[in-house]
Amino acid sequence: VVDPIRTIAIIGAGNGGCAAAAQLTQRGFQLRLYSRSRATTEPLSAIGGVEYEGALGEGFAPIALITNDAGAAINGADFVLITAPTHAHEDIARAIAPHLGHEQLVMAAPGHTLLLIPNTIRRAGGTLGIFCESSSLPFICRKSTPSRVRITRAAQILYFAAFPGDQIDTVTERVRQVFPQIEPTPSLLHTVFPYTNAIHHPPALLLNVGRIESTGGDYHHYYEGITPSVGRLIDALDAERVAVAAGLGVKVEPLPQFFFRLGYTNAAGCDGGTAYDVFHNSEPNRWIKAPATVDHRFLNEDVPYGLVAIAELGRLAGVATPCADAVIAVASIVAGRRYRDDGLTRQRMGIGDMSVVEALDLLQTGPKGEA
């Protein structure tokens, strides 16, 4: 017997939140949409919902409650869906903590911040039952106006994990009511590593810094920006990602196979076996322009929440990550930020000074001393 999910609180009304609102309305759920920012909710409140177009068709999804009050959104919801970028996870977790109840299922989509959300909620005095997450946003989407979202496609592969990991079977059954395509994995470690943006966005930007700043990004980021040398750096970062994962008992697909399965590259791109082949044969990415400035999520999000996490998990596993370390160091100077200190350190991931065995045990069975 699966506990039914009827009411969903979507936390975050950006690209992902609006796309989720559109799809989950179509599927008949009762929705509440929360954002911290009035500027974000006002255009949506003005029309009473969100307009959408693209892969899910074109239409209007009415939303009963659009609010800046986290309590109002969460109270009575069966399912709390966090659709915020990783760098907002900590603030979001603090905002929702006081309103959560033990019976509510909390999901982050995307997650891949390990125990950052659960620990932040607990530290803020919140009550957390089961936490779960997907490795990516369930949609490829972008807002075209403050109240309209264009959904290019629904993600075909959605790796899914629960905390504690030993609850995965029950949780998967429940969440499939919302996202039928989720693929369950044994623990939150398995949803960290498929975050491939971390290994291709930062090097593609760094090795084109002069061009971005000189031309305002007037070239095609993937097709023209990822040259053979840029590709080699991506390959090296991918090898580190795969090695760190393996060191923690997690098997991940190398970038070429993963992108082929996602439909981001063709057979030639996959068979070539290098990042250069992958992106040079990537039709969906062919015309995507480069960032206009280096002050961009390709660094600000993908370095501290991606490469730093891989490097830190490398420390846990005893696997060296010289390429990730080098990219983090140079990116920090380029952006004038302290990515290493401010990113997903082991401390912030909630595994501080643990050994591999201790960390795996925690992820599997949850915090000790809890009922």
Partner: protein, 370 residues
Amino acid sequence: MSQTKVKSVAVLGAGHGGCAAAADLSRRGYSVRLHARNASRLAPLRAQGGIEARGVQQGLVPIDLMTTDVTEAVRGADLIMMVVPSVAHDYYARALAPLLDGAQPIFINPGHTGGGLHFLHELRKAGYRGPIRSCETVSLTYITRMEGPGIVNIYSYTKRLRFAGLPAKEVAALFELIKPLYPEIQQAGSVLETALSNLNAVFHPPGIIMNAGWIQHTHGDFLFYREGFTDAVGRVTAAIDAERIAIAKALGVPVIPFIDVFYESGLTTKAARDSGDISRACRESEPNKTIKSPASLDHRYVHEDVGYGLVPIAALGALAGVPTPTIDALVQIASLAVGVDYRRDGLTLEKLGLAGKSPAELLKIVEEGA
């Protein structure tokens, strides 16, 4: 041999620099013996009776002796000038070890960062036990290029070149010896000072690596300094420069900030210098304003300036206990981008003969040559 004037020069190496030196010095009245390891290098020169020079010197320049026999080249020469990449140092060390008498001076042109120390280490490995008497400039004394077999274009002499002797106590005498050949040289205190004054290593690698995608996509169709040295590239260059200066400080070696040298060399405006902004200094570089980017990453801005620049600078940092996170990161990224393991192939502490040495031991080697 305590000669006070150089009349004969053994030029070892017949590539761009070696041919330029042989042609220039011959034309200026020196007796030149030109050595190449490979007879095929000398074949076109022998066929035409010398080197065809363009630029600073013009026309066919006969060379007194062209040989593949090192002994023949160096015997009795007032000066041995090595104009070869560092990878050839072990070959010449083995060839010269039985021939050197400790007095015949050796000019390593160029030494980049640590060329003399590397050559000394190779000499010791080859069994040479006598004293060293070498000197070096940080860059080649010519801006030059081979334009065909036996044809060399010497665009100009390199200006304001830092020059040092190994051992440092010989620098004044060696400076007097080389100055007539290359009036642009400037005397530095030691080879550590020239090593840490290698400014090409400070700004070429970030310039080329952080434009790697642009270079490969357009074959370098942009202005390297004016367009390639943007704010963020300038910040990375500044971080490298700060590490270089910290190493010099820890070793008690005087070095000048990049931007001041750049200004004092007439390469940028006073306003740019005063702003302290390296990006601006490069963008406002009048002499560099029309210089295009390298067309590929297979270029001396990486091979030389990383392998024989950043790698030995980082090695000196390790010896001095000064962290070099930015240099290390750039070496790592350059190695991946180009597909060359510069930390293995470049001038490491081992190749400099400095593995396990303390700063005090390093300073003694630099001062005494042993």
